[in-house]
Subunit: 368 residues, 2 copies
């Protein structure tokens, strides 16, 4: 991917994606898909099985996650995860925000795994053109249920924007982002503090290299990621100490018929640009789709691979495996002969012991 | 299991299970569970994924099936599979009888895998007291749909009972059992002929040892299994050539609230005895259950492990893992923290190739 290594600044929005969005630049397709896949990894590793005592955590450990979620083979963009993040909420939020285990021996009573920080390896840096730091935020697993019973109350956020700002943010996003809980082994510090601390550490560690900070997320992860991106830049965490601040570039994606939310992918920019796709034009997908299939991140990535603008046809330009859209849902037409919702561990993590009994082992041990 | 090795004749019904059923004899519990698990193996290996070109076949090969379905570890009753059986139907039957792949490259257009023959190994023979030959018949995957749109027409069966018999059998069972198809690689011979040929072969092979022939099946598998058992005995396939015929003993099981069918387990006897269980008494299972959960074979086996007659309580006497009832359905109370429907291959058989693409590989190669 030499062209991506050379063009990464414009691909990250230095010129606000001018002239790259329609028609959609081939490198930019690959670039967006790459960061979308980093967000997708947060879904694919998330343990949403409430019968598990590890419900709400990451199934896979930091060392193995990219291999386990299928982002190693055939992928030149190599990263290593440096930190997992956890969130809690001081406000009572619907289950979709904080998923609770049914087990009395749950790994945590109040926290959920909410994302990760990763840094390009030397090999990844060669493909990416710089030492990229990614912060990936997990979205909600359930997409719509919560919006019915959840008020979209707004609060001010002096912690992020200063006491004099009149910017207001969503109560739920803000609570997830900033809440801590002194009793919690995972949230003595808020998600915000965990992320800011890790970003500062990494930016200092690589201060003698050319670096970038890319924040990615889908759905709830896009909302909190946007908040976090603004926070990082507004409070100067994206630069080594004593250096001038860098810019923030925001790219948001919207599927034409998605009624839920938009998917922003954030580089460093000051304003948000929007890339529109329309997966209803894809002949690979079942028509008309459902609220869930249209909103799913994998559908968006399929859309990025094939969109040709609002007037153009749908034609895949990036060889992205169509079976991926069926990972968690039933999106693909039956003709393609891919099982629906095929993303599952063997026996959902049930493992047979030597005496023949079965035990749920659906969690890889890891430090925080 | 020395007591089973010594008592196998009475456990197989030599005295029509007199005095063993209420209260249910502990060895007999284990014995029934053992043969029930052989029938369960046919469900657990069956590929019911219509997106797969192997829909309707066995996922696992003859050499690996017992390991794959969890019947190796902790199980003293060792067998090896000697033959897989396939069925077709000359009558148009509902999908539940012959499951069809959506793929144009389907492994077969007209046949389904319908069960296996297995023979006790020397180690298994020691635990079982004799060289046991098992014929296991697969049941339907969908339990009730077909009964709505399927007429229970009866036909005579001169092939089985002779031209002068006025015995009549179910059109569907009989068609599955006796149909062949000269175009079919798997059903040039009918299921009946495949089974009779294999039984004759095995009975001859072990004619100098003490042998037994045990036929097991659940639901549709019980119906066809009964037909086959009668056929085998009526036509003398259960004895070496020139030896006197042996007897047929039939044990049927009925869950009190099961509205679908009964579960016969067949040894060699002339009439059927019935063992009643009532899983609605089990405190492990969700109440009141559904038509499917009450009919499921795993629920029956749980019932055998815990029944204490119509007036007694439900109390597990055999240490059979309760998580097994959740293999294909949502039977177990949530308190036990076992995922529902956990029986699945990793990623439903989707495997990532070296270039990053995914391919469905959900079939172990095997000869017939």
């Amino acid at each position: 991917m030499p062209s991506i290594a050379e063009r990464w600044k414009v691909l990250s929005g230095q010129k606000k994606w001018e002239g790259l969005l329609d028609p959609l630049d081939l490198d930019l397709r690959r670039y967006i898909i790459h960061y979308g896949e980093m967000a997708q990894a947060t879904y694919d590793t998330f343990n949403s099985e409430q019968a598990s005592k590890y419900a709400g955590s990451s199934r896979y450990a930091k060392d193995t996650i990219f291999t386990r979620v299928g982002l190693d083979k055939g992928n030149p963009f190599k990263y290593r995860v440096t930190k997992y993040f956890y969130a809690t909420s001081s406000t009572k939020l619907p289950d979709a925000f904080i998923l609770k285990s049914w087990s009395r021996e749950a790994w945590s009573k109040e926290s959920n795994w909410i994302g990760f920080a990763a840094v390009a390896t030397d090999e990844g840096k060669a493909a990416l053109g710089r030492r990229d730091i990614v912060i990936a935020w997990r979205g909600t697993v359930m997409t719509l249920e919560w919006s019915n019973d959840f008020e979209f109350e707004l609060v001010s956020a002096p912690d992020i924007f200063g006491a004099k700002s009149d910017v207001k943010v969503h109560l739920g996003w803000h609570s997830l982002y900033t809440s801590d809980d002194p009793r919690s082994p995972f949230n003595k510090a808020s998600a915000r503090n965990q992320v800011l601390t890790e970003v500062r550490r990494l930016v200092e560690q690589y201060k003698n290299e050319e670096i970038s900070l890319t924040i990615t997320g889908h759905s709830l992860g896009a909302a909190v990621g946007t908040l976090s991106a603004v926070d990082i830049v507004a409070n100067g965490y994206n630069k080594p100490k004593g250096m001038p601040n860098k810019n923030l570039y925001v790219l948001r994606m919207r599927n034409a018929t998605d009624v839920v939310l938009t998917y922003p992918m954030i580089g460093y920019s000051e304003v948000g640009e929007e890339l529109r796709i329309d997966t209803s034009k894809s002949n690979y997908l079942k028509k008309p789709g459902t609220v869930k299939t249209i909103h799913a991140l994998e559908s968006y990535l399929h859309g990025v691979a094939g969109t040709h603008g609002s007037k153009g046809p749908f034609k895949l330009e990036v060889k992205r495996d169509i079976s991926l859209v069926n990972k968690h849902l039933d999106c693909l037409k039956d003709d393609y002969c891919v099982p629906d919702a095929w993303w599952c561990d063997k026996h959902k993590g049930m493992v047979q012991l030597e005496d023949g009994a079965w035990e749920l082992r659906d969690h890889e041990k890891d430090d925080f």
